[in-house]
Assembly symmetry: D2
Homo-oligomer: 147 residues x 4
């Protein structure tokens, strides 16, 4: 993976602030575990209230984590003052989301002035073992305030 040069020297504070302004992340129990230019890990503790009919975490909740990981990874490379929008994403669900804790690991594949493409993977941690449960490819858009 290439390393990226952030255009915002305060990228860390800016990305963290954007993440924390999202009530949905608090409600879902998702937090930032690692943050580098173009890379982010989010973590989520298992909660029975977000499960589907077999007791696994719902695909939509896994997608919320993956999408946010992509968004924050893209955001670390955006200029000061930018806002961010998800254009689209695609998720493949590879295994039941069964575990005590979940990690959403995203990195930027291609940063751009308007569009940034990211990839992310969701891992379930259970009994000390980590397993891949889902992948995402997402397209994010940089929004700059009108001059």
């Amino acid at each position: 993976m290439p390393s990226f040069e952030p255009r915002n020297p305060d990228y860390r504070a800016a990305a963290t602030a954007t993440f924390e302004r999202q009530p949905a992340m608090r409600t879902l129990g998702i937090s930032i575990a690692r943050l580098e230019p173009g890379e982010v890990d989010l973590a989520m503790t298992y909660s029975a209230q977000f499960t589907q009919q077999n007791g696994f975490v719902h695909a939509g909740v896994i997608t919320a984590g993956l999408d946010n990981a992509c968004g924050i990874a893209a955001f670390t490379l955006m200029p000061p003052g930018a806002d961010i929008l998800t254009v689209e994403f695609k998720t493949n669900l590879l295994a039941p989301a069964k575990g005590e804790r979940f990690i959403f690991r995203a990195h930027v594949v291609k940063p751009g002035r308007t569009l940034t493409v990211c990839e992310a993977r969701a891992f379930a941690q259970a009994g000390g073992v980590e397993s891949l449960v889902a992948t995402m490819t997402g397209t994010l858009m940089t929004l700059m305030p009108r001059a």
Copy 2:
């Protein structure tokens, strides 16, 4: 749209039961609004706790609604005893998810013995006006109990 012949005469009860066994749907405030063979509408009331940084409903929550609409639409055409799994989906976010109430409208495009493809649209209702906010194409898998 073609009309479909359900293979399970009790498809309505079976689909409703599968939907209601999902704690995530209760937590997110999503319920079944309409249910026909191969078609379903789900409804969700706006809740501030599931929003992103600009006060719109989080893309992951919209995706949870779309994915469940696809799943239940596919499930209405599955044989008795089947369980269902989402294989993958792709979501395009077309407009901010801003409204008092949201509708997730799914229909089966191609039912199959193993795989079923569905399409869904999310609409925001605000001040009596309904607007398209997101689309999904999803692939669902039929799981039959081992003989």
Copy 3:
């Protein structure tokens, strides 16, 4: 489907010219069958040289037709002088692409200043019967020349 107002009064000539400047379309034997604001049908005759191991048209060739249908549909709504770029697409293959002739039918779902989202379907025609073989959702980008 909503009807769209083209921003380029010569949209028909502009879209046709863009289509015809693509050697790949000529090589694949794809031509414009219908063109309206935000909608296009392309047609392709079966050719054994573009088949896969079972004699069906290769998924990549079907995708080329779907992608071009999306692109031309989006292009009809773009302003004069615009160029167009495909950002991403997702294809579901629903049935073998087996037939004498293929139709790629696209329409704009959401036009935008920068991004336009389209949906397309591929149909195979065989013995007077038309059947759905693939779907696409695609995101297209408007490129304007620098002032």
Copy 4:
């Protein structure tokens, strides 16, 4: 990346034979450059007849290469006698497909009895430099002959 144990001891001959039975690959000038269990590189020489309006290789042709790379990578892990089908794929186009030669590099992310998920990347080679032009995530299906 994990290493995979092929279930077919003759996976190399089987995968090569399946690839070579596709007239579309010959027509597009695509050949196998590397083949390992769960991994494949395909190569394609630039040809003006497969370009779009700006002289770059058409997105559908790039997709044909990516899809085939995914299919052959998945096929190397399938049991003897299997046939293979693409269920769906999603492509992000990251840069113009401009070059003398193109490489389509795929690997299996998750092999399965019925479904296998692969990722692939397309690279353009120009003047000794290789650059990423597109990504794919695809779902492939194993078809076994009826007993």
